[in-house]
Amino acid sequence: MAEIRVNPTRMELKKLQGRYTMARRGHKLLKDKRDELMKRFLDVVREDKELRERVEASLDKVYKSFSVAGAVGSPKMLEEALICPKKEGSLEVGYKNLMSVTVPEFKMQVIGDNATESINYGMAFTSGELDTSLRELNSLLEDILRMAELEKTAQLLAEEIEKTRRRVNALEYIMMPQYLDAIKSIKMKLDENDRGNTTRLMKVKDMMLKAQLEQKDEEEEEEE
């Protein structure tokens, strides 16, 4: 692991200690964020899974009754009946902030008369199967939009979780150990310097004492 090379000075030590504390605080926060994101994500995904199972099953039914309708009438009749819809759907998109991830919220707005009924053709040339299948499809609308919303949310959350997890891991396994190593090495260098200083002082003191003693001795000899 590449370590941080720094001058072993007290100023650097102070700086590094500050950065380490910051990293630790950031790590804790990000970890909390990751956990909460995960919780929300799993809620979303569970609901999405259920919804998808239901929608897929219903769609299957709708397709089947459509083919029956196509078989009873002619395919051309089917097309003619559906080609000019009475209503036009448009989607209002709101945004929701979910743990600082912006996720869309869809709301369908139907323009056109008779908004709940999607039958837009004359009854004379079409079969009853078409009516049933369309009615079923209509009732599916809300679910299918909710599914789109949930799936998008899940994708966006997954991306954010991945990012956050990387950050947490980078802090935990790279940044923080690096700072700790650097701090330790600076401390050791400083301590070593300190010890060097102390021994030097002791030695100087010894030498000075010795010199004083010798001077004293000489003075006494002279007096005698």
Binding site: P85, L141, A148, Q155, A158
Partner: protein, 107 residues
């Protein structure tokens, strides 16, 4: 105000016309791919549904738009029946987020 688009083969998407979706027929994958990009680029669509059998082959193109807030590209089964691709998508998202598949392990 956004529109809802749906891309798929004729039989699958015809019914959605009556719901007010903006229906785009694609006879083959190449056409579906072109449609997908045009719809996304137009910026008018908030949701684009695409039938499974095309979505499987357009995985890379769809992945490009995955991390954008809009449009939501959602896979639905086509008239040929589902092949589980939509479910697999949820599974991938879980794996991406959690690192392991924890929802579908019983399946």
């Amino acid at each position: 105000m956004y529109k809802i688009g749906i891309i798929g083969e004729r039989d699958s998407v015809l019914g959605f016309m009556a719901l007010g979706f903006s229906v785009h027929e694609a006879a083959d994958v190449g056409e579906a791919e072109k449609l997908l990009h045009t719809l996304v680029k137009s910026g008018e669509y908030a949701v684009i549904f695409i039938v499974e059998n095309y979505a499987v082959k357009l995985e890379e193109d769809i992945a490009k738009y995955k991390d954008l807030p809009l449009p939501a590209i959602t896979v639905i089964p086509g008239v040929m029946g589902g092949n589980g691709y939509g479910m697999a998508n949820i599974k991938t998202a879980v794996e991406r987020a959690v690192g392991a598949d924890i929802l579908f392990k019983n399946d």
